[in-house]
């Protein structure tokens, strides 16, 4: 009885195995390349059995720096991988059918092992391609290697390379994630529902990893006074008391030196209003903090003499506003008053 799997685990095993069928046909990994003269971008797609995408164009470019050309036939991986994935699928379905917990654990371990080996192998060939350069290449930059990132972004001369899992890879990762969860479930079950062994910590850890990865696209981007230019009037943003920012859904930040420019920019329609994720104002105290539009207090006063005479200052609290209000006079206004 104990050696049997739970229904949940069996279901997950089935789903994960079936989902993996897609991995055989969808691209698993992609390396996106972009350069000024390739505004449309280039992409290399790694499938279970081949390299796809703009392979010929990339090969044409790589000869300048002496990189070997990429050919599907040069990789034993493309012969083995479909069998390995096929094997994983078959074993998974078999595990669900045979319904033995030990087999199930074994399968998860095998799955994770293959995932790790694949990534190590991927890193290894990225390293080889990036480092084993032809000595007689026309362009040799001392100390420069052209290894694409395993995951994430890297600048390689004029190309920015961006390496991420593609559809197949995400399915593989999701399957893996599900299996790990199912594994936890099984372990937890075997330990007789002990409260302190709830899966919550594990889940929390997983979530933490995920949120930390997504972290790069959240929150306003700090304004570099004296360096950043106003995206409306193009003048350098210098006055620390007046800084304004629009953050788009895609995480791009537009910065302004005055409320006037911010409003002008929104009205110009250069970015669709629905793309605006947040609007931020610099704290008038000059502490560099950017305050969200909903959580700050706005004071309008002609005494302010802001760079473009928009004459709006932002404060984190009414208290801090009142500190300045004696000198500044003026009146409290709302975002709605300003933006109609």
């Amino acid at each position: 009885m104990n050696s049997k799997m739970s229904g949940t685990a069996r279901l997950i095993t089935c789903i994960a195995s079936m989902a993996m069928i897609f991995v055989l046909f969808l691209p698993i990994w992609r390396i996106e390349l972009s350069a000024p003269q390739y505004p449309e971008g280039l992409v290399l797609k790694i499938y279970a059995d081949r390299i796809g995408g703009d392979v010929d164009i990339v090969n044409g470019l790589n000869h300048y720096i002496g990189m070997r050309t990429l050919h599907t036939r040069d990789f034993v991986e493309f012969i083995a991988l479909p069998y390995i994935i096929g094997g994983l699928i078959s074993i998974g379905l078999l595990v669900a059918l045979v319904n033995r917990r030990r087999l199930f654990y074994g399968w998860i371990s095998l799955f994770l092992l293959i995932a790790v080996i694949s990534m190590v192998d991927f890193y290894r060939w990225e390293y080889n391609y990036g480092h084993n350069l032809d000595e007689s290449a026309p362009i040799k930059v001392p100390g420069m290697a052209y290894q694409p990132p395993l995951i994430g972004y890297k600048q390689l001369l004029n190309f920015s390379a961006y390496s991420i899992p593609d559809k197949g890879g995400w399915i593989f990762a999701a399957a893996g994630g599900l299996l790990v969860l199912a594994g936890f479930l099984e372990i937890r079950k075997r330990r007789n529902y002990k409260a302190h062994h709830s899966p919550v910590p594990a889940l929390a850890a997983l979530l933490l990893i995920l949120t930390s990865l997504t972290g790069c696209s959240s929150g306003p981007s700090p304004i570099h006074y004296g360096q950043d230019n106003c995206d409306n009037c193009k003048m350098t943003i210098t006055d620390r008391r007046f800084g304004f920012e629009i953050l788009t859904e895609k995480g791009k930040a537009y910065k302004f030196d005055d409320i006037h420019c911010l409003l002008d920019f929104i009205r110009s329609g250069r970015i669709p209003k629905k793309d605006i994720a947040g609007i931020y104002f610099a704290d008038f105290s000059g502490n560099g903090q950017l305050l969200g539009q909903q959580s700050c207090y706005l004071l309008k006063s002609p005494v302010l003499h802001s760079p473009m005479n928009g004459d709006i200052a932002a404060f984190a609290s009414l208290d801090s506003m009142n500190k300045y209000k004696k000198d500044l006079q003026g009146q409290l206004v709302s975002w709605k008053d300003l933006y109609r």
């Binding site: 003269q37 505004p39 920015s160 961006y162 696209s217």
Partner: protein, 664 residues
Amino acid sequence: MYTFKQISCSIPLIVWALTFPACKPRNAATTISSDAAEKVYVQPGKYDELYNFVSGGFNGQVSVYGLPSGRLLKLIPVFSVFPENGYGYSEETKPMLNTSHGFVPWDDQHHLELSQTDGQADGRWLFANANNTPRIARINLATFRTEEIMEIPNSAGNHSSPFATENTEYIVAGTRFSVPIGDDQDVPIDSYKKNFHGTISFISVDPASGHFKLAFQLTMPGIDFDLSHAGKGPSHDWFFFSCYNTEQAHSLLEVNASQRDKDFIMAVNWKKAEEYVRQGKGVKKKASYSHNLLDEKIHTANSVTETEVLELDPVALKDMVYFIPCPKSPHGCDVDPSGEYIVSSGKLAALIPVFSYTKMLKAIADKQFEGDYEGIPVIKYESALYGEVQKPGLGPLHTEFDGLGNAYTSMFVSSEVVKWNIKDLKVLDRAPTYYSVGHLMIPGGDTKKPYGKYLVAYNKITKDRFLPTGPELAQSAQLYDISGEKMKLILDYPTIGEPHYAQAIPADMISKNSVKFFKIEENQHPYVAKGEKMAKVVREGNKIHVYITAIRSHFVPDNIEGVKLGDEVYFHVTNLEQDWDIPHGFSVKGAANAEILIMPGETCTLKWVPLKVGVYPIYCTDFCSALHQEMQGYVRVSAAGSSVPILYGTNRKDADTTLAPSSK
């Protein structure tokens, strides 16, 4: 029972997967300042501030733009035939394209240089090079016509040309492709190192007439000479060239000519060369090259074959030529307005070396040589180096100057223009180009006193900048305002051919001299008809000369009979108009060449050999007046043995007076 909860926990993973690309750094978006339109807008009826002469690359022509509007004003045919106006098709202009290889109807026009006086453009002439069949041309900026073309002997790939010394004493020509020269040129290609040579030619320009003379030629080792610029002020006596392929490769140069860490900048003391010429140290050698000159009086070009070259050997004649090592296949070779700094851009290098003229002189005086290359002393890199611009960008090509102590270098690979300070070699600003900039041009940017204000980037790749036009796209140009600290993109416009180098000059330097029409009384063309009464048709054997006049809105004669198969007909069309902008055109059905456009007061000749019996219309092709459509006539062509006499005239009802039989 946890299943749902736990499956839902994987949702963040999927969300992450979808949002992950948002983290990817974005390319700098095009930022156009709001006053850009104002800066490039030239009101209807107003003139542009500058003339901008732009090389046409593979179209062999020169295009003339107005700046800052970017409006195309004219195409000047130089090295390529131009059916639009008959250049290279009319009897008068055919000799212009004559070479030692016969009539060559096309070339690859790369660089332009305005004639200079005291290191500044004087607006008299524009010089152009032909890269393929080595030639240089002179364009008269009063008429915007090609007046002179000279072939360069012992050369191939005339690339480092036609750059001028400060008072246009000389313009230079150099060999991008070294070739075997002399008597035995039938040699194996792999005997490159032994048999191939480069040459550097100095062509003197007559200060009054502008006429070319090949003054002397330096025989160089067989390497590739790329670009050049003359010294200025203190370095007046010197000329600087960039050299690549010091590996002396003759195949797969993209790899084999990129092996050495350093190639050369070559410094030539042309005053010293003059001295050797005066001392009779030059060796006269036989050569054969065409020299074609337009005679304005007869509106006709004449081609003569020159037979001699004066050669100087820089190995035997010391103190005339030096090499300076320069990283990785240098391309641009540009001298700053002060004449002290020589900027060279190794197109594969990760830095820009700046050489100092005074340090170079000192190194020569102190004999700071690291050795020699094929007998020519090589100065130590550090001894001539002023400093290096670190991390300027990728693929530096060309540099121009604003006269305020800043240099602007085009970066092909990283597609940007980089502004840097010459004194402290610090990068000050970068502006993206769209895409892959080749040459760049600041008005007067290669002279002693740059006009500054604007910078134009000439890009090799256009892609998505304009509406798509199939696989072949126009090359693009971008105009930047450089009057402030930051470069500002203010205009983006397509161009003609493939622009390489360009020049620009304040408009009034040229517009005030512009010829409006040719005076008919000064026309000494042998076949001119200075009035309708002088129109006639003359048979000379199988050649028929038609002296035909054009004035709004008729030709005289407009009915011609007596032409027979086997005849060659020459229509000598004289435009009798004496007013601005009244050209006439002329064409005849079945002509195997082109039309001709005849300017007021000018005579042009179109040759026509009819192949079939019949009546052939002739007509004016340039809309000249309200009755332009009526400006037409007929030529009757009879069988070979026919007895139809020569008859001609206009308005045959008065046959007795105007339709006269020809005088035999």
